[in-house]
Assembly symmetry: C2
Homo-oligomer: 209 residues x 2
Amino acid sequence: MSETRTEAGAQRRTKLRERLLDVARHSIAARGLSGLKARDLASEAGCALGAIYTAFDDLDELILRVNLSTLQRLGDALDTAVTAAPPAQALQALARAYLNFARRDEPSWRALFEHRLSGGAPVPEWYADARNQLFSRLEGPLGSLMPDRDAAARARLARTLFSAVHGVVALGLEQKIAATPPETLDAELDTLVRLIAAGLEKETRAAAH
Amino acid sequence: MSETRTEAGAQRRTKLRERLLDVARHSIAARGLSGLKARDLASEAGCALGAIYTAFDDLDELILRVNLSTLQRLGDALDTAVTAAPPAQALQALARAYLNFARRDEPSWRALFEHRLSGGAPVPEWYADARNQLFSRLEGPLGSLMPDRDAAARARLARTLFSAVHGVVALGLEQKIAATPPETLDAELDTLVRLIAAGLEKETRAAAH
């Protein structure tokens, strides 16, 4: 194959990838992960069903790429919420930004947690890295609240706090365990983060004595 | 219809309900909610497909009845964990019992959260009552940690704490946000509950001054 033909082929593949990503992003945003069908994607993107598998390794890769763009938007939303406020309020602002992102973009946000790789394979490194970067946003304020603890303890607590906030948001938005009006959910999340921050301050002070 | 025939019919229906419940319980425990197929249930229970809908209103009712029995087993596991320990440790014991139940019975436990009623209808009252009773187990120890707050605040915090614990357990067991070895997950959950309890103690003491 001549270089020109190869380049043209690579360009076509790149364009097809972008088109398919765009169609899949809109589909997941509107109907969630369970509404995503390869046949519909191909028809909306104007390509043959098999072309999906020349543009991506498989449907899992396509979904992970959509989830990656959701992670990036979520990261941007958290960055916008970062404040120079005292650490407890900074954590509350991050938690509230997480809740508001989930409210605004619920199907895309749920897809982050609903998607499972076929055969239970672990996610690829490029995806895991992007996901782990999310928690790192909690580490700054957490570090101010626990100055005597090492980076590993801080990273562990960032993950725990993220999971706890996620639990309140996920069950609250789904009204899964009780009818939760929006302002009640806001208040519950504030309380959770406030208590954890107060607990950290108390333990840090006790350790200093 | 004579009384005898009606009674015999009611008895047959009761027996069929029990047989179907038993088969569905085993299916969900082994393969989760997504592995449940009405056709397989009928064949395993030795009845016609249509007979399911004479024994239950619909498949949703059958699933809710299975979930109810899971809620009852979960409640028993929490009751066994209740200790006369100081309230912070009592809450930690309850959280640990929740984690261990989820580990032991993961597909049945996930079914509690994955099941959605067709058309987004709210769950029936008999189910909501059983679910709300779960949180009430947290209210005793929480009450000791916040003696100055009213019952509504205590109930709200019980729900928030349950959701936070659930988030750490759900994401941790699924290894969704990082590889989490069992002992790390145990420790993360202990930390979460310990910090929340310490935060409550700090706020209660501050309010008393």
